[in-house]
């Protein structure tokens, strides 16, 4: 019965889609007339994804600047054609998939769109999924470490079934709530591959002699290396690799300029029947990352955010009128632009005891004047407070952001006295129990002026409560190694990567499961290496967070997940595990006056968000003549 209903629904949707009369893309009309391309109705899926927003006009070339040829990968991120995708309000919806059925969050049935094609016109079917799972992910030579760890549930591989040419089923024996999110990531686990193209490099399918010749031609050691080089949809550097993205790479590296051309078989159309993307070409020119702001200010980009920083804002603003662009300020999604990470695993026993004392961490946080930081460094545009969720997140709680975040040196002094740090030296610096002065060395990575400025301001207010701060800029790898080995007392770095999470997203960043969390690197290492190295969490707080993360994976309903998230956030705020400073520091986004559909106010975040991805750049379009005073 369900099956029948599904077919019925499919027919209905199909009928609705056919009600659309497609309008041929002008730039492709010549090729269609010459018979090089089939007409639009045969290029889009029989049931295309329909963009409901206001229609635009096709055509034009968008200029962007990239810092190195490696940045061709950005187009795969920004293009954001995914099986599942986030909407701008971070709801997870099927995108390339026609639909997805899930049962108990452990059995996922993916339905493809009939008639969906790769950029070379070959059909996109379940065979592409089978090829990846059986011949790539589970091939000893292509993937020596096996399928991606993120797809394993406590070591268990999913069961992958091909039900029919358009239906694939992934199932686990226990709940796998992160599966669909992984498909929507900016750098997703691409669980399909253009099998018809890649088989020529696969020893199982290829003609032996031809394959040997290809290997020799490409200077690779074996077929696996050749296959991996040709097959890198995330790196996006092989113009021959068929794609499903809105624009496909046409320039073969190395080059100083990369041209991306519209994918004639793209799966989305607007509500009047024009195939997306509207923009015909994307022209990505390589320039040194340090002069990109200058070039953008000279009007050499139509849409640019990468390599622009907040301190370029005034310069970019000055060029606006002359070069016909506008600078928009988007919010960023970090939990805190910069946060201090007291290392709970520091090797020095005296410091370890002190940094693990919650009163000490609270005192440090209370003696930072965030309001001053905000006004001096971010022109007062940032949001002051702890490193936690942002107001745009459904998990936002004002209490968490404000916990121990007001400037209160008197209370900080009381707390420090209470710990017993009452003796001071002649400079007025408090002394540790073993007689050393209380000098905190904060390690920073590299040459970003922002971090130095922030520490300079914190130094003054800490000095008042009797703590001396030294900033130590280090080369980034050196800093990482020092943190991993427990030499670092405190580090300063970006706050939570995703300050916009909802309860359906994994809370792993709040639990000690990653070596890259500077507040507990050795606990994270312990978890990541399954106990081979690192230290087992030996504080009740660490154990509780670890258990909560585990519970989240097993939780079956939304309410349970939300309360786990809230509990974890509350622990973080109350125990001041990281010391947040200011968040929502604006990201300048330069948009040409001719470009439409780029949101005035947006959120600039990597995951979720894919930078511009959630706003679907395939629907950005150019007006031929710009009425400069009219907002888009």
């Amino acid at each position: 019965m369900r099956r029948l209903l599904a077919i019925l629904a499919l027919l209905l949707v199909g009928a609705q889609a056919h009600a659309l009369t497609y309008i041929e893309t002008p730039s492709l009309a010549a090729d269609v007339a010459a018979g090089k391309l089939p007409p639009i109705a045969e290029r889009v899926p029989t049931d295309p994804a329909i963009e409901e927003g206001r229609p635009g006009q096709p055509g034009g070339e968008m200029r962007v600047l990239i810092g190195s040829p490696r940045d061709t990968r950005l187009m795969a991120i920004i293009g954001y054609a995914r099986l599942m995708a986030y909407t701008p309000s971070y709801d997870l919806v099927p995108d390339m998939l026609e639909s997805v059925d899930q049962k108990e969050q452990r059995i996922f049935t993916l339905h493809l769109r009939p008639g969906h094609r790769w950029s070379d016109g070959q059909p996109f079917t379940a065979e592409d999924f089978r090829y990846w799972w059986e011949d790539v992910a589970n091939n000893q030579l292509l993937s020596p470490t096996g399928p991606p760890v993120a797809l394993l549930r406590q070591g268990e591989k999913p069961k992958v079934e091909i039900l029919d040419p358009l239906t694939i089923r992934y199932s686990w024996s226990e709940a796998m709530p992160t599966f669909l999110q992984m498909l929507a990531s900016p750098t997703p686990i691409t669980i399909y591959r253009p099998a018809h193209y890649l088989k020529q490099f696969h020893v199982k399918y290829a003609d032996k002699a031809k394959l040997a010749a290809l290997i020799a031609d490409s200077h690779t050691r074996n077929w696996a290396q050749l296959h991996n080089r040709m097959d890198n949809p995330i790196r996006n550097d092989n113009p021959d690799l068929p794609t499903l993205d809105p624009w496909m790479l046409t320039t073969r590296p190395p080059s100083e300029r990369f041209l991306f051309v519209r994918n004639p078989y793209y799966y989305r159309v607007d509500r009047e029947g024009r195939q997306l993307p509207y923009i015909d070409r994307v022209n990505a020119a390589v320039a040194d990352s340090k002069i990109i702001p200058v070039k953008v200010g000279a009007g050499e980009a139509d849409l640019q955010s990468r390599y622009l920083r907040f301190d370029n804002y005034t310069f970019l603003k000055a060029g606006e009128a002359r070069n016909n662009y506008r600078v928009r300020l988007w919010k960023t999604g970090y939990g805190s632009q910069l946060a201090l990470y007291p290392n709970l695993n520091v090797a020095d026993p005296v410091w370890r005891t002190l940094l693990r004392d919650v009163r000490f961490r609270r005192a440090l946080s209370l003696s930072i004047d965030r309001h001053e930081l905000n006004n001096v460094i971010y022109y007062g545009l940032a949001l002051e407070g702890q490193n936690t969720m942002l107001p745009d997140s459904p998990l936002y709680d004002e209490k968490n952001r404000e916990a121990w975040a007001q400037y209160d040196p008197a209370q900080a002094k009381r707390l420090l006295d209470e710990i017993g740090l009452t003796k001071r030296n002649s400079e007025g610096i408090r002394l540790l129990p073993d007689g050393r002065p209380l000098q905190i060395v904060v390690e920073t990575a590299g040459a970003v002026a922002e971090e130095g400025d922030v520490l300079e301001l914190i130094r003054d207010t800490w000095r008042e409560v009797g703590i001396k701060l030294f900033a130590k800029p280090l080369q980034i790898e050196l800093m990482h190694n020092r943190i991993f080995s427990g030499e670092t007392m405190m580090a300063i770095d970006r706050g939570l990567q995703n300050g916009l999470a909802n309860a359906e997203m994994s809370p792993a960043a709040l639990a000690p499961v990653q070596q890259e969390d500077w507040q507990w690197p050795r606990w994270g290492q312990y978890y990541e290496t399954h106990g081979m190295s690192g230290e087992t969490p030996d504080m009740p707080m660490g154990i509780e967070l670890m258990n909560l993360e585990h519970d989240w994976m097993n939780a079956t309903d939304f309410e349970a997940r939300r309360s786990i998230w809230q509990r974890m956030l509350a622990i973080h705020a109350d125990r001041v595990l990281t010391i947040g400073l200011c968040a929502e520091v604006p990201q300048p986004v330069v948009v040409s006056d001719q470009l439409r559909n780029v949101p005035e106010q947006g959120i600039y975040n990597f995951d979720p968000g894919a930078f511009f991805g959630v706003y679907k750049p395939d629907r950005f379009w150019f007006v031929p003549e710009a009425p400069a005073d009219q907002p888009s």
Binding site: P148, D288, I291, I476, N605
Partner: protein, 332 residues
């Protein structure tokens, strides 16, 4: 003479081997490797990286092997003309260098010609008119040229050319020629874009050369043979060209040794600022990213050119200057 040449050629082999070892060690000295640099770069732009993936890539690139093995692998490849594989570009090194090498040659050779054409007349003029107002004026200009950092000049030109003339400096050809095969039109476009980098890069070289030529020539002009030549009634121009000018050229010939590597690697910073598609920025990037085979192989090429260049300039000096004779001193 023949023995000398053979001896010099044989000495090159251990020299180059030693250089290769030093190059490799220096590239490996900074902590981490290409992948950790890459990871840090992505994180700085707000992206996350899967550590498992990194371990796999490390194995694929052979970065997990001991360093002496990596070194032998690289040197063995070099001996067979295989320059290795660039991690950052995901391509063999020879393909990465490709077109850039020709553009670098064009820029460098044009710059050298520009330097000579401007520096010689001015140098000669200020030497023959020593302590005149025009000498002081040109000397002043020369010092300004010498003292202005190239990259600053490039930035200033970039800014003013844009605000005053609305043109964008940067790049070596019109957009439509990038990646296109070489043609007359493309060559023309390159020439049209060439003058700015040539002036920027050539300024300090020109200033330096004016000063050296002037000093050398002044030394010679005081000598007795010049006085004699003048006394005998030789025309001033011929006097100058025939003897003192030739004598003062020795340092330039000795310079050829350093000139050759400069031709392919010179002016990296200016090229970065002007975003020229030359080899300088590529080398800089490779070193920063620890893309070790690209950087290493490229540095080896430069070392080879330096060694060959020094050898050639020694030979040229011996041939040009009768006062330099091989073995004349040691045979005693």
């Amino acid at each position: 003479m023949f023995g000398y040449i053979v001896h010099r050629l044989l000495v090159m082999i251990p020299t180059l081997l030693a250089i290769s070892l030093i190059v490799f060690i220096i590239i490996q000295l900074p902590p981490g490797d290409y992948l950790s640099t890459y990871m840090a770069e992505l994180q700085a732009q707000g992206e996350a990286v899967d550590p498992q993936k990194l371990a796999y890539l490390r194995e694929m690139y052979g970065l997990d092997r001991p360093e002496w093995q990596q070194y032998l692998y690289w040197v063995w490849g070099l001996l067979h003309g295989d320059m290795g594989y660039s991690f950052a570009y995901n391509l063999p090194v020879t393909q990465v260098v490709g077109d850039r090498l020709w553009l670098t040659f064009i820029v460098s050779i044009t710059t050298i010609l520009f330097t000579w054409i401007v520096a010689f007349p001015i140098g000669i003029y200020s030497a023959t008119h020593q302590y005149s107002w025009s000498d002081y004026g040109l000397t002043f200009l020369g010092f300004v040229g010498l003292a202005t950092p190239n990259f600053l000049l490039a930035l200033v030109m970039l800014y003013f050319a844009n605000t005053w003339f609305g043109i964008s400096i940067g790049g070596l050809m019109d957009d439509r020629f990038i990646g296109a095969p070489w043609s007359l039109a493309k060559f023309g476009s390159v020439l049209a874009h060439l003058w700015i980098p040539v002036i920027v890069i050539g300024t300090s070289g020109t200033a330096g050369m004016i000063r050296r030529l002037r000093a050398n020539l002044l030394d010679e002009l005081q000598k007795q043979y010049v006085v004699t030549a003048r006394a005998k009634g030789l025309s001033p121009f011929k006097t100058l060209m025939k003897y003192p000018l030739r004598m003062s050229l020795n340092p330039f010939i000795a310079d050829i040794g350093t000139l050759l590597p400069h031709v392919i690697s010179g002016s990296a910073i200016v090229s970065v600022v002007l975003s020229l598609p030359t080899t300088g920025p590529m080398l800089l990037d490779a070193l920063r990213a620890q893309d070790m085979y690209l950087a290493g192989s490229f540095l080896m090429c430069m070392s080879l050119l330096t060694v060959v260049g020094v050898f050639l300039s020694d030979l040229a000096l011996a041939a040009l200057d009768p006062r330099i004779r091989l073995g004349a001193g040691s045979s005693k």
